[in-house]
């Protein structure tokens, strides 16, 4: 019991109160993140409404398979993250460390595939700027599509990179047995962040890759 007390900061009455305050704080932060990505998605929606044909044509340069694989990779990372939180809460150190490492590996795999896709965009002159080349009508709208593509996926990748960094710290601490049944809030709260980044991609995949693919 004395161990538990030591982990409760002086402004909190109980460990449970401290945990719910931390969880609530993360949800408040995620609400601001919803609007951060929401603003960019709003811009995407308005420009797509203005020139739907050009957006469809531009999106056909995307690789549906690579994007789909990345979606599956990220969904799997959410599963391993949830299992890491579960293992930490149960005080199972080895399983917790294993699941955190798996989550990091899947996050890194996502970024690696994303890097391949970015490389293809550079090779195909689809990066907005002086070297942007797009055949056919609506090249201006197509360039806007790719600006929004790099903006949205870039910020998403940045969030994922930060997530991997936080997980690295958590893994090191979990390996040293810092998280127990009584105290595992950092894992729980980081899990919330990780799942949010997954949700952003759940919306980005159909919006970026799956526009009128039947054409």
């Amino acid at each position: 019991m004395s161990d538990d007390r030591a982990l409760v900061a002086h402004q909190f009455e109980t460990a449970a109160q401290q945990r719910s305050a931390a969880t609530l704080g993360m949800w408040v932060f995620l609400a601001t993140e919803v609007l951060f990505f929401g603003g960019m998605l709003m811009a995407y929606t308005v420009y797509r409404v203005m020139d739907a044909g050009a957006f469809a044509l531009a999106s056909h340069a995307q690789n549906i398979l690579l994007g789909g694989i990345n979606t599956a990779v990220l969904l799997t990372s959410s599963l391993t993250m949830a299992l890491a939180v579960q293992a930490s809460a149960a005080g199972r150190r080895r399983r917790s460390v294993l699941m955190l490492l798996l989550t990091m590996a899947l996050g890194a795999a996502f970024l690696a595939i994303k890097a391949v896709e970015y490389g293809q965009k550079f090779a195909e002159h689809l990066v907005p700027g002086v070297d942007f080349r797009f055949a056919g009508p609506g090249a201006g709208a197509a360039q806007i599509y790719f600006i929004l593509y790099f903006l949205l996926t870039g910020f998403h990748a940045l969030h994922l990179t930060i997530g991997i960094g936080v997980l690295a710290v958590l893994t090191a601490r979990a390996a040293r047995g810092r998280y127990t049944q009584a105290y595992h809030t950092p894992v729980e709260v980081t899990g919330l962040y990780w799942h949010f980044v997954d949700i952003v991609w759940i919306f980005l995949y159909p919006l970026i890759y799956l526009i009128q693919v039947y054409r």
Binding site: A31, G38, T45, Q86, A89, A90, G191, F203, Q212
Partner: protein, 91 residues
């Protein structure tokens, strides 16, 4: 707050997410006109709800946390609705 979900349930939720991913790809190849985006976004919302309820434990969370989670979605809805009432009704 996090102890209530079993490994089996997490695996079932993940399986449902993979199924919905397959469904969204399959639907994208069918020409439904302007309904394609409706179907795609409905599936995306369903996936997000699964993640939020089970992986993020909103199912077991207290009332205050639920209100905050819904507030984010509500303000996003305000932004979308008010912006689109302008852009979709021009000309």
């Amino acid at each position: 707050m996090s102890g209530g979900t079993s490994t089996g349930l997490y695996l079932r939720v993940a399986a449902a997410l993979y199924l919905l991913l397959g469904l969204t790809v399959a639907c994208a190849f069918i020409d439904m006109g302007s309904f394609n985006i409706v179907v795609a976004m409905t599936i995306a919302v369903a996936k997000a709800v699964l993640v939020v309820l089970f992986f993020m434990h909103l199912r077991q969370a207290g009332a205050l946390t639920r209100v905050v989670a819904c507030a984010g979605a509500l303000w996003l809805l305000f932004m979308c609705v008010l912006t689109l009432t302008d852009f979709l009704t021009r000309n």
